[in-house]
Structures are given as C-alpha cells and as structure tokens.
C-alpha cells in the first residue's frame, strides 16, 4: 500500500506459482491418495450418526457390525468417537493394535469384526487428552480430530471388507467432517429416539445429508417400543412419535424401529451384542434385519 495515487500491484495467491507451497499441497494430495487406496477394498462404507447424543448410535453400530459378520461377511468397525470411545468394549475387542506391514491391524471383536477405537490405544480408564497449547484449543483440536479420523481410515490394515461401519460421535458437523474426508458414504444411518427433543435435533442432520447429496439415508428409531415381559404386548415407550413424524416430514425411509430391550445395553456392556447373544429377541431381530438392509441396498 502506498500513500500516492497509484497502488502498486501485488500478484494474487493464484497468480503465483510456488513449488514450496505445492509441496504442502502435494502432501495433502498424498494423504488423500493413501486414504482412497485404503478404502478401495471396502465394499460399503456405512456411517452411523445423529445430531443427538445418547440415542444409542454405538449400540446400533455394534449390533449391525456383529450381525453382518455373523452372516459371513468381512466387516470392520471404526469408532470415530475419539473422545468418548465405546465401540471396542461393546464388540468385546481388547488389547492394543498390533503393527502390521503397512499400518496397524484392527483388533478382533465379536463374530470376528475388525475393530479400531481410541479405546484400544489409551490405557484402561484413561481419558483422551490432546496435546497442545491451552489457548484456542477449540481451533486446533478440531483439526487434529479430523486428522486422527483420517489416520484411522488410512493407516489401518482394513483389508478387503464387505462393510466398514463408522460409529460417529454426536453432532451434525461430524457428518460434515466425514464427507470432507471420504466423500459421500455408501449409506448413512441416522439414529433417533421417538422423543420430540431428538426429532428436533436429528431433523437437522437429515436436512444436512439431503443437502450434501447422500443417496442412501436410513432412519433408525431406537427404543421405539417396549414389550411386556409377561404378555409380550408391545407399547410405545415415548408419548411422542417423533421418529415417524421425522420420516414423514423429511421423506427419509424408516429402516428400523428397534424395541427397547435392557439386554441391548447389558450384553454390549459384556462385549457380546444382542444379535449374537439372544438373536431370537425382537430387538435382535430388528437389528439383524437392519444389518441386512445396510448390506444390500
């Protein structure tokens, strides 16, 4: 800038060719190439997400993965909830991740599901603490978490999989991060409960996915009904019918209505999803049917 009448011309970023900057771009391109190469062996990438927390995403993910593996498919499950990982425990995967020739190997969980989770890396009971300056933590942590998700996808020897299930943390922006990294997944399961509060929040995720052009989006109503253990009659668990209303309003297909069953939580706490431990129960049947829907669009 000058005080005179003529302003000197400074070339813009795009007008300047700079091999130095290109080396940075080249590193990003190389990251993307590795990611693409690794995911080339994955038949279907299925994300399980929700704008709302506490609706049972991880239990749905664990059961879908286990049901698919039990049917003879090669299945991987990635716990993308880096700060609150639970998928490894739910699938009964223990220990760490062993080093392979081209990355880390997934741990084996129920029915042979290959599992990767931060839980398999941090010490038992230890919280995930990200290293870095306290100042502006929100800014750099978000970048690092996205980078960590990229590494969990590209630096793991997933091998040839029929389905890779990604259990995302709550929040619509987590879906956006995933799409930034890998493009549109083959399918996204949006998990909700029939409550109005959940419907309100999850509707935003549905809208986002529609805007992002994700072609296969299935709505999963968790804890939809409760069955009397004595007479077997199923009753709605919530007064509201938010999931069906959401399906109606958004045009999303309701892929499953999973009845409430205390054994879902009890069995996943033991590392044995209900689709394996009690496949005859209505909740297990609903989850197994959902898994088939996920695998065969």
């Amino acid at each position: 800038m000058s005080g005179g009448s003529e302003r000197r011309r400074i070339r813009t970023y795009h007008e300047v060719a700079d091999p130095g900057a290109e080396s940075v771009v080249g590193q990003v391109v190389e990251q993307r190439r590795r990611l693409r190469e690794r995911l080339a062996g994955v038949g279907r990438l299925v994300a399980v997400g929700s704008g709302k927390g506490g609706v049972g995403k991880s239990a749905i993910s664990a059961n879908v993965a286990a049901a698919l593996a039990a049917s003879g498919r090669a299945v991987g499950a990635l716990d993308a909830d880096l700060d609150g990982p639970s998928l490894a425990r739910m699938l009964g995967a223990r220990g760490g991740l062993a080093r392979g020739d081209s990355g880390f190997r997934p741990a084996r969980g129920a029915a042979g599901v290959g599992v990767v989770s931060m839980d398999l890396l941090v010490a038992e009971g230890a919280p995930v603490r990200w290293r870095g300056p306290e100042e502006h933590r929100f800014a750099w942590q978000s970048v690092i978490e996205t980078g960590a998700l990229r590494e969990f996808l590209s630096d793991v020897e997933w091998g040839a999989l029929d389905v890779l299930v990604l259990d995302l943390p709550p929040g619509t922006e987590k879906l956006a991060r995933l799409i930034d990294l890998v493009g549109s997944p083959d399918a996204v399961l949006i998990v909700t409960t029939p409550s109005e509060a959940a419907r309100h929040v999850v509707a935003k995720s549905a809208r986002f996915l529609e805007d992002a052009g994700v072609r296969e989006v299935g709505l999963v109503a968790n804890m939809a009904t409760w069955s009397c253990p004595h007479c077997g009659v199923a009753e709605p668990l919530f007064a509201a019918d938010g999931a069906r209303r959401l399906a109606r309003d958004s045009g999303l297909e309701l892929w499953a209505e999973v009845p409430f069953d205390p054994r879902i939580a009890a069995d996943t706490d033991e590392g044995m999803p209900i689709v394996l431990s009690a496949p005859e129960r209505p909740a297990a049947r609903s989850l197994a049917a959902l898994a088939e829907r996920v695998a065969a669009p």
Binding site: R8, G20, A98, G132, I144, G147, A148
Partner: protein, 149 residues
Amino acid sequence: MKFLCIGCDAVMDYVERRLPGDGTMAVVYACPACGKETAMLANPMETRLVSGLGIEVGGRSVPPEPLELVRSSVEGLEERAEGVAEAAPPRPGGVRWSEDARERLMAVPSFVRGMVKRIYGEYAAERGIEEITPEIMDRARSELGLEGM
C-alpha cells in the same frame, strides 16, 4: 501460504524450518533475486494447527508413520504405542537410545516428541547407527536442519 518479495516480484524460496522447543515454529524464506530473508513466526496454536494437518512446511524429511498424528497427539499414547510396537517383530534398522539421549528427548515438547523421536530414529537407521547418543542427535540436527529438536 506463499511468500512474495514485493520489490523483486519474486516468489521467495523455503530455506529452513526451526522448532525452538517452546511450541512455536519459525520458517525462513529467501528471495532468489535479491537474497533478502524473512522469517514467518508461528505461535503455538498456529504451529499446532499445521502439525494437525499432518503436513510439514518445506516438505517432509521422512515419510509419515502409521497413526503418526494420533500417536503424537494424545497424552500417554506414544509410550503405549511403543509397547505395542515392541511386541511386534523387530523392524529392520531398529536403534537403541542411550540414557542421556532419552533424557534430552524428554525435553522436547510432548506433542511433537513422537515425531522428533521418529526423525532421529530413521536418521540413525538409514546410516546403520545402532545407538542414538546426544552426539548423534547433534549431527542429525545439523544435517537435517532440525535446530531446536
């Protein structure tokens, strides 16, 4: 990010990157026409942002290791991941660290320690060095331009 010498209208060349050890970063650029140098100084947050992208300004000196970012970014993970790695078959070119070299490594900020350790390890492995000592670290630092590590 690109650096332009306005007087010469020339793109400045990357010269070196320095990590002084306090979480900040300095990257030096020079004009190929007039030789004028300038340093870009990044604060700890900016430095962390760059490392979070998994890239190195000026280009990578060594290829990335699997889960490099994860292992260097979560407290306690580097040590645990090393335990896992030790349980695996030894990798070709594995090197030992002398006690005083380990002590010096611990002075490096924890969130970049994993990366620094890997760089020294690969430097030694490539040259057939069996044990990393402070002298080896000095030599590597000088040859690789790793001042501050």
